[in-house]
């Protein structure tokens, strides 16, 4: 129960982000100013990030039955808030010339971040659903944002409706699974699954409930065979919204899945292990194979994200077989790595695009290296990291995944991982090769619009982190290791 102000302290990051959204909304009411709204959002998210960082050492408590604020949830609060801030910075020049009201975009972004923070702090079905729906509802808006813009060439409405319908169906699955569990236990906390009464409805009933929850989550994570929506939504949405969906949306969902599977001991059922193994293998193969056929950068990244979620699922399965926290560490590290490299990749694309015209065909990256070496180097580093090449954080992430797979003895899945990564190299190298081709001077390398120094700044920071954690990962490894002990 919250009885005093002190009990509210652990919720500070959440409260700061909420306050940010309220202040931003009031400011829009008073006077519309794109710059003011943007600055308020960025400042608020930065404050939330810093507060969450400062809280990591001493906060570990359950706040109401709904939210757990421990090092792990705070680590991901930092990741979520920092990424949201990066995306706000990148969105600013992107939407600058939108011929429609622009300010509410930041409102949606902040509210989505509230949802994400709730999700990473949740160990209860109610907070999961609340967070998930807050996040998804805002995302529908963000995806469809340039809807009324006359110049926008993309299909935001198609993407938003597709995401809305399928996401609602997935939420339905999750809710139904929860209801089935609730019917047996009478409580909605994750831990209740382990306390199923012996005289209940039996294992098969529980398995169906767990399958429903997991497949709903797999929809949101776009794991094969629930991945059909991903490329279309990625392609149709404006770039910053795609990036939000791909990074924060997936990371928050995976944290929930991780907590749910670990706390509810869902993998103690053999059939669950089989199902997750199959999903992992299917995702690694389907993601990488389907990406081969694409010429659209956003679709390639969509399929590659399917594969990356498959790699993460491998570690999740491994978590059942190993003692110690190596699998949780692997997932945590890889999620952080995935967020950094996806933000970087989408960030470069969004810097050279604007809401009027997106550069999303890989043809348009031809010769980028010779025209803008800084952007191209960043992009190449991000792509090599996604491919898991040393010197980058992606390699250390792969290292973790391999290690957890080996400790668990998942040789078949590891074989699929090697195969999938090998196939993956092809489409990453294709993009990289384009950037090195001789330029065509007739085409500009970026759409007009505004160019913002701060976008280059955040990209530089992302590149720095990518290389720092790739070459000297010891500090972040110890943070990940201590945080993982809380799961």
């Amino acid at each position: 129960m919250i009885t005093s102000f002190n009990d509210l302290l652990p919720l500070m990051p959440l409260l700061i982000v909420t306050a940010t959204s309220v202040i931003a909304m009031l400011m829009i009411g008073i006077r519309r100013s794109y710059i003011t709204t943007g600055s308020i959002t960025i400042t608020g998210l930065l404050a939330a990030t810093l507060v969450a960082v400062s809280m990591m050492d001493w906060t570990n408590q359950q706040v109401t039955p709904l939210l757990i604020i421990d090092q792990y949830s705070l680590l991901f609060t930092v990741v979520v808030c920092a990424s949201a801030m990066v995306l706000a910075v990148l969105s600013f020049p992107y939407f600058f010339e939108l011929d429609d009201q622009r300010e509410e975009y930041f409102l949606l972004l902040t509210v989505a971040t509230i949802g994400a923070i709730v999700m990473v702090s949740s160990n209860h079905f109610v907070s999961t659903v609340l967070g998930l729906e807050t996040l998804s509802m805002s995302l529908y808006g963000m995806i469809a944002y340039p809807l009324h813009s006359a110049k926008s060439a993309k299909f935001p409405l198609e993407a938003a409706v597709k995401y809305l319908v399928l996401s609602a169906a997935a939420s339905g699955f999750i809710l139904f699974g929860m209801a089935l569990i609730y019917a047996q236990t009478g409580t909605l906390s994750f831990a209740s699954v382990t306390e199923l009464p012996a005289a209940g409805l039996g294992d098969s009933y529980t398995i169906i409930a767990l399958l429903m929850v997991v497949s709903g989550m797999a929809f949101k994570l776009s794991l094969a065979p629930f991945h059909m929506w991903t490329p279309d939504v990625y392609e149709g949405a404006p770039l910053p919204a795609t990036a939000y969906l791909a990074t924060i949306g997936k990371a928050a969902m995976f944290v929930v899945l991780l907590r749910f599977v670990q706390i509810s001991e869902a993998l103690s059922f053999d059939s669950m292990v089989t199902v997750l193994t199959l999903i992992a293998a299917a995702s690694m193969l389907a993601g990488n194979l389907l990406a081969l056929l694409q010429d659209n950068l956003k679709r390639i990244l969509a399929y590659s994200s399917i594969a990356h979620m498959g790699y993460l699922l491998l570690a999740l399965v491994a978590g059942h077989h190993v003692t110690g926290t190596i699998a949780v560490e692997a997932i945590t590290f890889y999620l952080i790595a995935y967020v950094i490299m996806s933000l970087g990749a989408f960030g470069v694309a969004s810097v050279i695009s604007s809401s009027e015209k997106e550069f999303d065909s890989i043809k348009e990256y031809r010769g980028l290296f010779w025209r803008n070496p800084l952007l191209a180097t960043t992009f190449i580093a991000m792509l090599l990291s996604l491919a898991g090449i040393p010197l980058t954080i992606g390699f250390i992430g792969k290292f973790y995944i391999f290690l957890s797979g080996i400790e668990a003895g998942l040789w078949v899945l590891l074989g699929v991982l090697v195969l999938g990564s090998g196939i993956g190299l092809y489409y990453y190298l294709r993009i990289i090769y384009r950037m090195f081709m001789p330029e065509k001077h007739s085409q500009p390398y970026r759409v007009g619009g505004v160019e913002s120094v701060s976008s280059y700044g955040v990209l530089a920071i992302l590149l720095f982190l990518l290389l720092l954690f790739g070459v000297y990962p010891a500090p972040i490894m110890s943070i990940v290791a201590t945080a993982s002990a809380y799961i």
């Binding site: 090599l384 090449i389 390699f395 290690l403 190299l425 294709r430």
Partner: protein
Amino acid sequence: MILVVLISILFLGGVLAWLSEGLDSKFPRVVALAAVVIDLLVMMVLVGADAEGSGWIVQLNAQWIPRFGISFHLAADGLSVLMMLLTAFLGIIAVGSAWDEITERTGFFYFNLLWTLAGVIGVFTALDLFLFFFFWEVMLIPMYFIIAIWGHENKNYAAMKFFIFTQVTGMLMLISILALAYFHYIQFGWFSFDYFDLLKVSTSSAIEMWIMLGFFIAFSTKLPSFPFHSWLPDAHSQAPTAGSVLLAGVLLKTGAYGLIRFAVPLFPEASMQFAPFAMTLAVISILYCAKVAFAQTDIKRLIAYTSVSHMGFVMLGIYAWNEQALQGAVMTMLAHGLSAAALFMLAGGLQHRIHTRDMDHMGGFWPKVPRLSFVALFFSIAALGMPGLGNFVGEFLALLGAFQASIGLTVAAAFGLIFASVYSLWVIQKVFHGVYRNSDFDDTHLHDLTRREMFYFGAMMIGLIWMGMYPQSFLDMSSTTLTNLLNETGQLLFAQGSEL
């Protein structure tokens, strides 16, 4: 510390070379040359240095990722020093061969060249397996760029194939390294990736075999050996000359080095069981690729196949695992490094002059370009194993050692020497003798070797003659290392040797 200096000179030199392009597009090559020459000079400190009884001349061990017992462990013994000298020497040659050929984006080119060399030096000195893998991959990316950006007509395909082959097999090796580290964890209770720690790990023979195979596949892809060799002809024919020089001269040797340093000593029993298969693969490489070389019309592809054939002798020597065979393997690595690099430079030089690599268009070049023709004859003869030159010593020792391990396979492998004579002389016949016709190409630029080129080829000739006439100076350097390796593993293999 000196090892860190060696590596950082190249890394920093690469960055400097890139930056200096902003001033003048001719600066990068000077910076690159300076960096490699300084590196070679610094290395000379190690040549005379006295090794302690262990054979290690210098060591550096610092913590890197304590969570998994990963350390920044560099060390050099005689074998490493030999390989590093080869690397730096061929580095200079590579810069020289690119001097006039690379005119576009010079800064980034020399950046990649130096970073490849830095990665290779790292591979030859790393004694932490994680670090080793790190360098193993680091040398790939710049090489990919060299082929993909400055390559010839089909560069995208070749660069992609090169990268995917080495990267995928590299991942298998990563799994093996991690599995080995994990078994160390099970046995000793803590993670370690250190070479000396991992030497102590003992596992059941089936597991050892699987882990060993991970290493073997990665190394034999790099070597390359049949059946993993198909990337090499493409990579070589498309790479710019400097890229070919590095590939043939240095990168292939990292595979052989890995076999000697890691694959066999870490898994002596599995290697012993596997040796007959490996030697058979080596013989197939020698004979099959010599035959395929004979069928080529593209001169660079031809030389690439002969490389595979010659590297077969290295693999044969390594898996015979006795002193003569290993000395032979090391000598072959050095001599082939020079001769193959020189041949690729000649082929590259020809292509630069007449814009074709197709031998059907060539013929009768001797009177037109006598110096070039003579140099080509010299290195062809070196490659076919003429006594008095380095390749002969290497291949002879390798065969001599292999004879003690398996008579049948050695006899078969010896036919490779005959095939080598056939294809080498056939090339000379086809390109330099016969009737000169210039109907198929533009011969306005077909001039003889310049003084600078003569200097490089001359240096390589001296190297080969030195190796051929006084091989002892090289054998002495590697012998401590090789005897130490043999002492650690020799007992096991000797018992089996008679059965092979």
